[in-house]
Amino acid sequence: MQLTETASERALAEEVRAFLARAGLRSEELPHGLDERMAVLRDWQAACHAAGFVGRAWPAEFGGGGRPPAEQIVVDQELAAAGAPEFVNIVGLGVLGPSLLRFGNDEQRKRYIPTILSADEIWCQGFSEPEAGSDLASLRTRATEDGDTFVINGQKTWVSWGQYAPLCGVLARTDGSVARHRGISMLIVDMSTPGVEVRPMTQITGHAEFSEVFFEDVVVPRENLLGELGDGWKIAMYTLGHERGTAALPRQVKLRTWLDRAVSVAARRELDGHPVLDSPEAQTALARALVRIEVLRHHAYQTVGEFLSGGAVGAESSSVKLLMAEAEQELAATALEIFGPTLLDGDADDDAENDFWYETYLYSRAASVYGGTRQIQRDIIADRILNLPKE
C-alpha cells in the first residue's frame, strides 16, 4: 500500500492543475436553472474528456484512457481540490458504461462508450416502476420479441435525467414463464423512438431531475439487447453495484467541495456579532462532517480500486453506499445547524447561498433511497457479507 504518487501520477496531477488554471470551472459558478446548468456541465465534461480526464481507466480502444485506476483517483482528487463540479453523465459513467464494458459486444461498446465519455449522449436508466421499487424483480414492463425487434410496453419511474437523455438502459420482462429474476433482459432504448413519452417529475428540491417514462409499443432493434436474453437481472445487479461503489468516488469529491463551501460561508457569516466559524461548536460539527467524508473516501478507495477498470463489484459496495448517504446527510444537516438563523435572514447575495444549502439539504434525503434504500443495502450486507440466515 502506497499513497505517494509515482512520477507519472505526479505529472498527471500537474497536468490537471495546469488544465484547471487554464479552463477551470467551480461548482459555485454553475447557473441555477437546470437547463442552463446542464449545458454548462456537458461542455465541462467534454472539455475534461478532451483533456483525457474522463474514463481514465476505461479501455483506450473505446475512447478511454487505458491507464491504471489510480490515475482516475488522482484526477478526481485534483478536480475536487479546485472545487470543480462532478461529471454530468453520471448514469453513463457510473452505471451503464461499466455494464456496457462488461456485458456489451464490441459494436455496442464502439457505438456508445465514446459518447458517454464525451457527454455527447447523456444516459438514463429505466429500472424502477410504480409497483417495483425495492422489489425490483417484480417489474412489469414487458418486451415482446417480434422478429428482429422487441416491442416494449410499460412504465418506468425515478428516471434521473430522463428529459435530457437520448439513451436509456431499460430493464424489461422478456419471459413471463420463468422465475421472476430470470425472465428479465436489458435493452438499450433510443428515447426518440415513437411511443416513448417522458414526463418530468418535480422533486422536493423544486428541480425536475427525474422523470416518469412511458413506453407504448416502442420498437427496439434486437441489436440493442445488452448481453443475452434473460441476463437483465445479472446486469442490473452489476450495474447497481457500480452505482453504489464507483459513483462514490466522484460523490465524495463533491461532498468535499460542499464542506469547503460551508467552511467559507461560516467564515464570512456572522451570528450574534461573531463569525459562525469562530464558534467551537460549529468547528466541531464541520469536523464531524469532514470525518464522515474522509472515511467514505478511504473506504471507497479500499473497495472500488479493482472495479474502476471494469472488474467485479463486491457486496462491500453496499457499505460504501451506506457511508455515502451518511456523509451527505450529516454534511447537509450540519450546514442547517451551524448557519441557523442566518438562513432565515439573508440579503440578496446570501439568498442564493441559502437556496443552495436548502437544496443540498433536501437533496440529501434521497441519498439513503436511490440506488437501493438503506434497508436494501443492509439486507445485501446481511446476506452476502455476513451470511446471516434469511427471514
Binding site: M1, Q2, L3, T4, E5, T6, E9, A13, A70, I73, V74, Q77, A81, G83, L259, D260, V263, S264, A266, A267, L277, D278, P280, A282, Q283, T284, A285, L286, A287, R288, L290, V291, E294, V295, L296, H298, H299, Y301, Q302, T303, G305, E316, S319, L322, L323, Q375, Q377, R378, D379, I381, A382, I385, L386, N387, L388, P389, K390, E391
Partner: protein
C-alpha cells in the same frame, strides 16, 4: 499510488495472528495471564522482529496490523510505546546519540508519558519540565510502566515542547499503580523529581518527533480497538446464527440482520481509515497528522458502537463476568481514551478547518497529497 496490502503485509498479518493464538490464552482467560505469560509473549514478538531498532523497515501499516491482532487477542504487552517511539525516531535514526541507538537496537520496552493530572492530550497541558538534563513533573495513565525499561516523556524543554527518554527505575522516578478499566492495560502515575534523562529532544526536532509520535500512537490504539471490535463482532455474529428463540435462529430477524449490517459497516470502514492514515504517515504525506486525527476520531466512536451492538446481540449472557464480551469492551474504551478521544480530535480538525479559512486559503485539512 497502490491501495492494496502487499503480499508481505498479508503474511505478517497472518503470522502475528498465528503467533498470538499459540502464545496467548483465549479471550475469556486473557485477563488472568500473569507476568510469565506476558513476558513470554513479549519475547516472541521481539523474536518475530516486531521490535527492531530505529532503522527498522516496519512501517505504520505493519505496526497497525500487529496492533489489530493484539487487540483481537486482548494481549497484554507494551507494544504501543515500544514500537511507537522507535517509529517516531526512525527518520532521525542516523543522527541519534550512540547510547540511544543501542537502547533502541536492544529489545528494551518503552512507554509513552504525555497525559498529566487534570490535563488533556494537547501539548498545552504539559507541565513536566526538563532542566539541566533533569526531569520534574507528574504524568498520568502511563501504560505498562512497571514492566518497561524506559519512559518517553513529553515535557517542556527550554520553553518548548520536547521529548525526554528516562529510565523507569532511575532515582527520582516514582510509579504508583492507577485503576484501569482494562486489567490487561495496567496504568500508573509517574512522578519525576529531578530524574536524570538518558536523552532529550528539543526545539524543531522535538516538534517533528512528537507530531509523528502522537500520530503513530493514535493509530496504534485505534488499530487495537478495531481488532477488539472485529473479534467481539465475529463472536456475536456466530452466536446470533446459533441461538434460537421463537423457533428460529435470532439472526434471521430483520432487526438483528440490519443491526449487524450497520456494525459491519462501522467495523470495515474503521479499518480502512486506519490503514489509509497509516499509509499516509509512512509516505510522509503533508497533513498525515490530520489524517491520523480523522481515523482516531472515527474509530473512537465506531469501535465502541460495534462493541455495544455486539453486546446487544448477545443479550443477557454478555452482561456476565465470565463472558468475554466485556473484556473487549474494556479494551476498546481504554484505547478510545488514549491519545485523544473523538472530541479531542474533532476539536483539532475543526480548528484546522477554521485556520485554513482564516489564512484566506481553501481549507487544507486532509488531502491525498
Amino acid at each position: 499510488m497502490d491501495l492494496e496490502l502487499s503480499d508481505e503485509q498479508r503474511w505478517l498479518d497472518e503470522s502475528i495472528n498465528t503467533l498470538l493464538e499459540r502464545q496467548w490464552p483465549p479471550a475469556q482467560d486473557a485477563w488472568q495471564a500473569g507476568d510469565t505469560e506476558r513476558t513470554r509473549l513479549w519475547e516472541s514478538l521481539v523474536e518475530f522482529g516486531l521490535v527492531a531498532g530505529a532503522e527498522s523497515e516496519l512501517g505504520a501499516i505493519e505496526l497497525c496490523l500487529a496492533a489489530r491482532a493484539i487487540g483481537g487477542h486482548l494481549a497484554s504487552v507494551p507494544l504501543l510505546g515500544s514500537v511507537g517511539v522507535r517509529y517516531a525516531l526512525a527518520p532521525v535514526a542516523a543522527g541519534l546519540p550512540d547510547g540511544l541507538s543501542v537502547l533502541l537496537e536492544s529489545a528494551s520496552r518503552l512507554s509513552i508519558a504525555l497525559l498529566e493530572p487534570g490535563g488533556g492530550w494537547s501539548m498545552s497541558g504539559v507541565g513536566a519540565t526538563v532542566t539541566s538534563n533533569r526531569l520534574t513533573g507528574i504524568k498520568a495513565a502511563v501504560e505498562h510502566a512497571p514492566s518497561v525499561e524506559y519512559l518517553a516523556v513529553v515535557a517542556v524543554v527550554d520553553g518548548e515542547p520536547g521529548l525526554a527518554i528516562v529510565r523507569s527505575d532511575a532515582p527520582g522516578v516514582e510509579l504508583t499503580p492507577q485503576s484501569s478499566l482494562d486489567a490487561t492495560v495496567p496504568l500508573s502515575r509517574a512522578a519525576f523529581a529531578e530524574a536524570e534523562v538518558e536523552a532529550v529532544f528539543e526545539h524543531e526536532l522535538a516538534a517533528t518527533i512528537i507530531d509523528r509520535l502522537l500520530s503513530i500512537a493514535a493509530l496504534l490504539v485505534a488499530a487495537e480497538a478495531v481488532g477488539a471490535a472485529e473479534r467481539i463482532f465475529a463472536l456475536a455474529r456466530q452466536y446470533a446464527s446459533e441461538r434460537r428463540q421463537f423457533g428460529r435462529t435470532i439472526a434471521s430477524n430483520q432487526a438483528l440482520r440490519h443491526l449487524m449490517a450497520d456494525l459491519h459497516v462501522r467495523q470495515a470502514s474503521s479499518w480502512s481509515t486506519t490503514l489509509y492514515a497509516a499509509a499516509a504517515l509512512d509516505d510522509g504525506i503533508p497533513l498525515a497528522g490530520q489524517t491520523a486525527s480523522v481515523a482516531k476520531a472515527y474509530v473512537s466512536r465506531a469501535a465502541r458502537e460495534v462493541a455495544h451492538g455486539s453486546i446487544q446481540v448477545f443479550g443477557g449472557i454478555a452482561f456476565t463476568e465470565e463472558h468475554p464480551a466485556h473484556r473487549f469492551l474494556r479494551r476498546i474504551i481504554v484505547r478510545e481514551q488514549q491519545f485523544g478521544d473523538a472530541a479531542h480530535h474533532e476539536r483539532e480538525l475543526g480548528r484546522a478547518l477554521a485556520a485554513g479559512a482564516a489564512a484566506r486559503e481553501r481549507p487544507t485539512a486532509v488531502s491525498a497529497r
